[in-house]
Amino acid sequence: MLTKRIIPCLDIKNGRTVKGINFVNLVDAGDPVVLAKQYAEKGADELVFLDISATLEGRKTTLEMVLKVAEQVNIPFTVGGGISSIEDVDLLLKSGADKVSINSSAIKRPELINELSDKFGSQCVVVAIDAKQIDGQWRVHLAGGSIPTSLDLFEWAKEVELRGAGEILFTSMDHDGTKDGFANEALAKLSTDLNIPIIASGGAGTMQHFVDTFKIGKSDAALAASVFHFGEIEIKDLKAELRKNNIEVRI
């Protein structure tokens, strides 16, 4: 049976791993290549590298780091941040990234999703969506969550799927950094509405939160950063707990 995936996210700025609390007040949490290797050995199913400064400052994700990760790490990884063209993606995939994640560039020019999917296959195109609730509506936000758009989360997610995305990484900005659990209601709706895998992001604090997002949120994968980076949750313990709750995981 296909397992649920546990995905540590390594937010990268200036070649170092950081984790924002509601996307501000960054705290340093180590060397990405060393961390990535450790996570692979500890049982992470996949890794995501997000260059969080990339969109805000127009910086490109460093290919050098991607190459080093590809050399040393034997599980799949996704790279996101500042990706806006076929050329960007081509370079990342050639450097050994398995998937790329696009966010603001897809909102600005949705055709990019079609172009990437046609050229490289939908399996390597992850569309990241940051959203928060405004007056009861889930509104998509641009540029690391700093600029609200008029897009509705569920309508945008459907469009993204139709344009050829292979997966959606949904971050609830209302939950991110709170350690209060994932946005399971919205996640369950996404998972039911769409026919591509959904990665839950934002709000992981306890092992029960992961159980809940797989059972109630119907998520296919769960992503978290600080609970893993600071050793608050060990992946081994987490997977044992998930299995105890009859959730299929790779151990």
């Binding site: 034997n74 050639k94 050994g96 399996q123 895998p197």
Partner: protein, 198 residues
């Protein structure tokens, strides 16, 4: 040992190359028929869309070279699918090594299948030392049906061929280069094949 990874513009060649490096081998990348034909082992990776990949193979005349190969060949993911009779993806004719067709997963399940799933009914020296129900990493929307060349199965809605073998040709739907230490063992077994036989 002279290992060649076929580099025709539609493969995750870097990841496969690095995985071989981690096992202590130094494969080269090539799309030149003579270089590929004279290798001891050939790895045929592939990601992306089947029709495009087949076009790229034809551009390098590799559609003629590959079926003639006599040394062990390992197709990975789309590489494996292109070694089959045909695939529904873009109604593409394959190289016809493995006598099975490649179909699209039904929408009863999420497509693509993305993540770790088990392989079982293992039937080849490719799986020497690999436990039944080992987890492998898979990403695909199309699958090879079961058939006489099936050497491992995986279940995603249906049971399908997660590995195939015919003579010197091997194919795996999963990504050994991305399937942690278990995947590395499968790759090592493949690279050791000739050595075991001789």
């Amino acid at each position: 040992m002279n290992i060649v990874i076929i580099d025709y513009g539609a493969g995750n060649t870097k990841s496969v190359q690095f995985a071989c490096n981690r096992l202590g081998y130094n494969p080269i990348l090539s799309n030149i028929p003579d270089v590929i034909s004279s290798a001891d082992k050939v790895i045929f990776p592939g990601v992306g869309q089947a029709g495009n990949a087949m076009e790229m193979l034809k551009n390098s005349q590799l559609d003629l070279t590959i079926p003639q190969l006599k040394q062990p060949v390992l197709g990975i993911c789309l590489g494996m699918q292109l070694l089959c009779n045909s695939t529904e993806e873009g109604a593409t004719k394959g190289l016809g090594i493995f006598d099975v067709d490649v179909k699209r997963f039904s929408n009863q399940k999420k497509v693509p299948q993305m993540g770790w799933n088990t392989i079982f009914n293992l039937e080849s020296n490719l799986f020497e030392g690999i436990k039944n129900d080992a987890y492998m990493y898979l990403v695909h929307s199309y699958f090879a049906e079961l058939g006489k060349h099936t050497i491992s199965q995986t279940k995603y809605g249906v049971n399908y061929s997660s590995a195939l073998k015919k003579d010197n040709f091997y194919g795996v739907q999963f990504h050994p280069e991305k399937s942690s230490t278990v995947g590395a063992e499968v790759l090592r077994n493949f690279l050791n094949l000739g050595n075991l036989e001789s």
